[in-house]
């Protein structure tokens, strides 16, 4: 079945799996996992450069930018000011016009602060970013972010790094019915079926990091996530049968 490419601003992608670059034991393991995942978009974080020591290996030396589009995030920001500052700095690195806006509410849940997220969205839209916005699975918050001009709205399936999967598929369905911009599940993916569930619901993509990076065998988990993303998407496009309470025989009913 033919599928359209996922469009985000001026970018478009075949792969609908976005993969983070955090928590890998080595750069070479990360590289192999990215390759196995088939991703075309990889996320990175913005942090202070090391001073004084020997200039160590840079993450970017291990990411083929011909192959992957870099999606910087504002992870670790707890106010709109901080997030806007981080986004502007990330753009200044000259590698990407995209940013994943993440404004967190507290350290235990890592859930987004909806008010600060909206404020930062309004500012970064004016700044001309291709803006992907991390949010909770609250349909109203998602709608407000779309109205503010987000390129994509990224509800968490469950808390970041929790591996709990998509906890409230009903909210995700409402978000999908309400929004016209691409909805990408960001956070909470633990295993392949979580990705499939998100894609079967009709999400345009899934972003994950820990589910691959902290798996016992990250490279094969990356492949599992790739297949799950493709199979979930295909199932969505193929149109599933409705759920029914009673049986419906597959074999012809006996008539002799």
């Amino acid at each position: 079945m033919e599928d359209s490419r996922l469009k985000l601003g001026k970018h478009s992608f075949n792969s609908r799996l976005f993969v983070g670059t955090g928590k890998y034991q080595t750069f070479s393991l990360m590289k192999e996992a990215l390759e196995a995942s088939g991703t075309e978009v990889v996320t990175v974080a913005v942090r202070r450069a090391n001073i004084g020591g020997k200039a160590g290996e840079s993450l970017l030396d291990h990411i083929d930018r011909e192959k992957y589009t870099i999606l910087p995030n504002t992870a670790g920001c707890y106010s709109s000011d901080e997030a806007v500052r981080t986004a502007l700095l990330s753009r200044e690195l000259g590698i990407s016009d995209m940013v994943k806006l993440e404004v967190l509410g507290d350290e235990n849940t890592l859930l987004p602060d909806p008010i600060e997220t909206l404020k930062a969205t309004e500012i970064l839209v004016k700044e001309g970013f291709t803006l992907l916005v991390y949010t909770s699975d609250d349909p109203i918050a998602a709608r407000r972010l779309e109205e503010a001009g987000a390129t994509s709205v990224m509800p968490a399936g469950s808390p970041i790094g929790s591996g709990q999967g998509v906890l409230n598929p009903n909210n995700i369905r409402i978000i999908l019915e309400t929004l016209t911009v691409p909805v990408i599940i960001d956070a909470g993916v633990g295993t392949a079926s979580d990705v499939s569930i998100a894609m079967e619901l009709g999400c345009e993509g899934v972003l994950l990091n820990t589910g691959i990076a902290q798996a016992k065998v990250p490279v094969s988990m990356a492949k599992a996530m790739k297949l799950a993303c493709e199979s979930g998407r295909l199932a969505y496009l193929s149109g599933r049968i409705p759920k029914k309470l009673y049986a419906n025989a597959s074999s012809p009913l006996k008539d002799f």
Partner: protein, 66 residues
């Protein structure tokens, strides 16, 4: 003179440019963005912008993240 880089005090000589300071600090200039006194300095101006006493610099780069 003294400047502050990522919250650490550093000594440098008068007339030091941003590029020279980054080099002295062993920072890989290909992958950094720099703020001076909370204003972003475009990469193209790293060579020409000179530091002044008590300037505060923030130097960031990309690291692994999700």
């Amino acid at each position: 003179m003294q400047v502050t880089v990522n919250d650490e005090k550093r000594e440098c000589s008068d007339g030091t440019s941003v590029a020279e300071l980054l080099e002295d600090l062993g920072i890989d200039m290909r992958y950094v963005a720099v703020e001076k006194n909370r204003q972003i300095i475009p990469r193209t101006q790293f060579n020409e912008i000179k530091l002044q006493e008590s300037d505060t610099l923030e130097v960031v780069t990309f690291v692994g993240g999700g």
